[in-house]
C-alpha cells in the first residue's frame, strides 16, 4: 500500500485587496510515496513545499485534487492518529512547559494515560531537552523549539511523519541528531516525508527525492540512481608540485594545490594516466569515478522546461 498518494492536488491562494487574483502555489501535483520510504521534497524558497504539507495536513483546502494517506482519504479523521507533523518554524503554547506541552499533545493524540508520562520523558530525552523539560516555552530558543517540534511529531508513534525543514535552526550537533533520528525512523519501518533546502542531508537520508519549483513537480528520482550515474570521467589525486606534461596531453583538467594535484580526465584514459604517474614516480592518493551529485540533478531540474517557458509566455500575454 502506498503511504501517500497525491492525486493532482492543486492550490491557488486568492491575493490582492479584494482577494480576487488567484495565485497558483501548487500546480496539479501527482506523487506516490511508498510505505517505509524516506522521501525528500526539495525546492527553492516559495516553491510550494510548505503548501503541499499544509494541504496534506488539512490546514488549507485544495482548489482541486485529492490525496490518500495510509489508504484513507486525507480528511478522514482516522488518518490523524497515525501521522506526525513538524511545521516549519514551529511555535507552541508559550504558557506551557515542554513536558506539559507533550503531555497535552499526547492526550489529544489519544496516547493512553498509562505510560504517557514515561513516553513524554522518553521523547524529551530523545531530542535532548530533558534538562529544560520544566521550563516555560516562552523562554525556549529557536533550536530548542525545533527539537520540541520533532518530539511532538513522533510522540504518538505515528506510522508516517511529515517534517517541514526539520534541520532548520539547529546547531551542527542538532542537525546530526535529526539525521540520526530520521535514520532510526527508517529502521523502525516508518515513512518519512520531509522538505529541505539542504541537499547533502537529502542525499544522505532519502530513498527518493522530488524536486518542486514554482509549484510544479519537476522530477522524482531515486537518490542512489541519480548519484550513481557516472559522467564517464575519473578524478585522480596524487602528490606532485606541477602537472606532468603527459597528463595534459591525455585531456586532463588539472588543478595544483600545495603539493597535491587533482586531475579529472575521461575514463578511457585512466590506465594511460596511471602509466604516466608510474613513469614519473609520483605517489597516487586516490582514484574515483566522477559521479553526478544530487546538486547537479537539482540544478538541472530547476531549469525551465519547454512547457514551463510556454506558460510563462502565456502569462505575460494575458497580463499585457
Amino acid at each position: 500500500m502506498a503511504a501517500i498518494e497525491i492525486l493532482d492536488l492543486e492550490k491557488s491562494y486568492l491575493v490582492g485587496f479584494w482577494r480576487k487574483r488567484p495565485k497558483l502555489a501548487l500546480r496539479s501535483l501527482r506523487l506516490t510515496i511508498e510505505e517505509g520510504e524516506v522521501f525528500g521534497f526539495l525546492g527553492p524558497n516559495g516553491a510550494g513545499k510548505t503548501t503541499t504539507l499544509k494541504l496534506l495536513m488539512g490546514l488549507v483546502f485544495p482548489t482541486a485534487g485529492s490525496a490518500r494517506i495510509l489508504g484513507l482519504d486525507m480528511d478522514d479523521p482516522r488518518v490523524k492518529s497515525q501521522i506526525g507533523f513538524l511545521p516549519e518554524q514551529p511555535y507552541f503554547y508559550d504558557h506551557l512547559t515542554a513536558r506539559e506541552l507533550l503531555n497535552y499533545y499526547g492526550q489529544l493524540s489519544g496516547v493512553p494515560a498509562k505510560g504517557r508520562a514515561a513516553r513524554v520523558e522518553q521523547m524529551l530525552a530523545r531530542v535532548g531537552l530533558s534538562d529544560s523539560a520544566g521550563m516555560q516555552l516562552r523562554k525556549f530558543s529557536k533550536g530548542m523549539l525545533q527539537r520540541l517540534g520533532l518530539a511532538q511529531a513522533i510522540l504518538h508513534d505515528p506510522k508516517l511523519v511529515f517534517l517541514d525543514e526539520p534541520m532548520s535552526g539547529l546547531d551542527p550537533m542538532g542537525r546530526r541528531e535529526v539525521r540520526d533520528m530520521i535514520q532510526e525512523l527508517r529502521h523502525e519501518g516508518k515513512t518519512v516525508f520531509f522538505s529541505t533546502h539542504i541537499l547533502s542531508d537529502a542525499e544522505a537520508l532519502c530513498d527518493r527525492v522530488g524536486i518542486i519549483h514554482q509549484g510544479e513537480l519537476r522530477g522524482v528520482g531515486a537518490v542512489a540512481e541519480v548519484t550513481s550515474q557516472k559522467q564517464g570521467k575519473v578524478e585522480i589525486v596524487f602528490c606532485a608540485q606541477a602537472v606532468p606534461a603527459g597528463l595534459t596531453s591525455l585531456g586532463a583538467e588539472a588543478r595544483v594545490s600545495g603539493d597535491m594535484v587533482n586531475a579529472v580526465l575521461p575514463e578511457e584514459q585512466q590506465d594511460a594516466a596511471l602509466e604516466v604517474l608510474r613513469r614519473e614516480r609520483l605517489k597516487l592518493i586516490s582514484l574515483t569515478p566522477v559521479r553526478r551529485s544530487l546538486e547537479e540533478y537539482y540544478i538541472q531540474k530547476l531549469r525551465p522546461t519547454e512547457g514551463q517557458r510556454e506558460r510563462e509566455e502565456d502569462r505575460k500575454g494575458v497580463g499585457a
Binding site: V60, R78, S81, Y93, H95, L108, S109
Partner: protein
C-alpha cells in the same frame, strides 16, 4: 451534524473520543488564562468592592444593601464582559496567527472540537472568576448588613444570569472573530452587548413604531441577544424575587443563543484556510 462524524470515528480506538479532547482543550485554555494572569482582575475588583462598602457603611444606614448589591453585581458583570470580549476574540485568531494550531489540528482533533473546547475553556475561566467575585460580593453584603437574609438568595440568581450573559458574549466574540479582525470583533461584540442590554426598550419602541421602521426595529430587537432580560440586578438589589419561569426561560435562551453563535463560528472556521 456531529453525530455523523462521531460515527466515522467509532471504528478507531486510537482516536479516543471527542468529549475527552474538548475537555483537554478547555482545560488548556483555562490554564493559559490563569497563567496569563487573567484572574488578577480580582484584585482590582476586591479593592473596588471593599472601598465601596466601607464608604457606604460610613455614610448611610438604609441603602447600604441596595448600593452594595447594585455596585457589586454591576462590577461582576462588567469585569466579566471585558474579559470575555478580550479573551474571546483572541481565542481562535491568536492560535491562527501564532500557528500554535498547526500541531493541534494535525492531531485527531476536528475543528469544531477545537472551537467548542476553547469556548468551554473561556466560560470555565469566567465561571471561576465569577464565583470568586460572588464570594466578595457576599462578604461585602455581610459586612454592611451583618447577616444574610432570605432575599439574598436572589442575588445568587442574578449572578447566575450574569454567567449566562458571559456565555453569550463569549460565543459572540468567537463568532465575530471567525471572520473579522480582532479589533472589529471587539467593537461588534461590545456594540451587541450594549444594544442587547437595551433589548427590552427596543422591543417597546418596535411595538409603537409603524411601517417599515417598525419591521426593522422588531427584527433588530428580537435578533440581538436579550441581555436586558438577563439583567435583574436592580430588581434583586431591591429585594424583589425572580420568577422561576424567567430562570427557565433565560437558561434556555442563553444556551440556544450561544449554541447558534458557536455553530456559526464553527461553520465559518471549518472552511477556512489557516494562514
Amino acid at each position: 451534524m456531529n453525530s455523523g462524524r462521531r460515527n466515522a470515528n467509532a471504528g478507531n480506538p486510537n482516536a479516543g473520543n471527542a468529549n475527552a479532547r474538548i475537555g483537554y482543550i478547555a482545560f488548556n485554555t483555562f490554564r493559559e488564562a490563569v497563567r496569563d494572569r487573567v484572574l488578577y482582575n480580582l484584585i482590582a475588583f476586591a479593592l473596588l468592592l471593599s472601598g465601596a462598602s466601607i464608604l457606604v457603611g460610613e455614610i448611610s444606614i438604609d441603602v447600604e444593601r441596595l448600593v452594595v448589591v447594585n455596585l457589586g453585581l454591576t462590577a461582576v458583570s462588567l469585569f466579566g464582559v471585558v474579559i470575555a470580549i478580550f479573551i474571546g476574540i483572541g481565542l481562535v485568531s491568536k492560535e491562527i496567527d501564532k500557528r500554535t494550531l498547526y500541531t493541534v489540528l494535525s492531531r485527531p482533533v476536528r475543528r469544531w472540537e477545537f472551537v467548542v473546547g476553547k469556548f468551554f475553556g473561556l466560560t470555565g475561566t469566567l465561571v471561576v472568576n465569577t464565583v470568586l467575585m460572588a464570594i466578595g460580593v457576599l462578604l461585602a453584603l455581610l459586612y454592611v448588613a451583618h447577616r444574610f437574609e432570605k432575599m439574598d438568595a436572589w442575588v445568587l440568581v442574578a449572578l447566575y444570569f450574569i454567567v449566562l450573559q458571559f456565555l453569550i458574549v463569549c460565543a459572540l466574540a468567537l463568532f465575530f472573530s471567525s471572520f473579522s479582525t480582532p479589533l472589529m470583533s471587539a467593537v461588534f461584540t461590545f456594540a451587541l452587548f450594549v444594544i442587547g442590554s437595551l433589548a427590552e426598550d427596543l422591543r417597546g419602541f418596535a411595538r409603537i413604531t409603524q411601517g417599515v421602521g417598525g419591521w426593522i426595529a422588531t427584527a433588530v430587537a428580537y435578533l440581538v441577544p436579550n441581555f436586558s432580560a438577563l439583567n435583574v440586578i436592580s430588581q434583586v438589589a431591591h429585594g424583589d424575587a425572580v420568577p422561576g419561569r424567567l430562570i427557565l426561560y433565560n437558561t434556555l435562551y442563553a444556551l440556544l443563543y450561544s449554541a447558534m453563535a458557536i455553530s456559526g463560528a464553527v461553520l465559518i472556521f471549518q472552511r477556512r484556510d489557516l494562514k
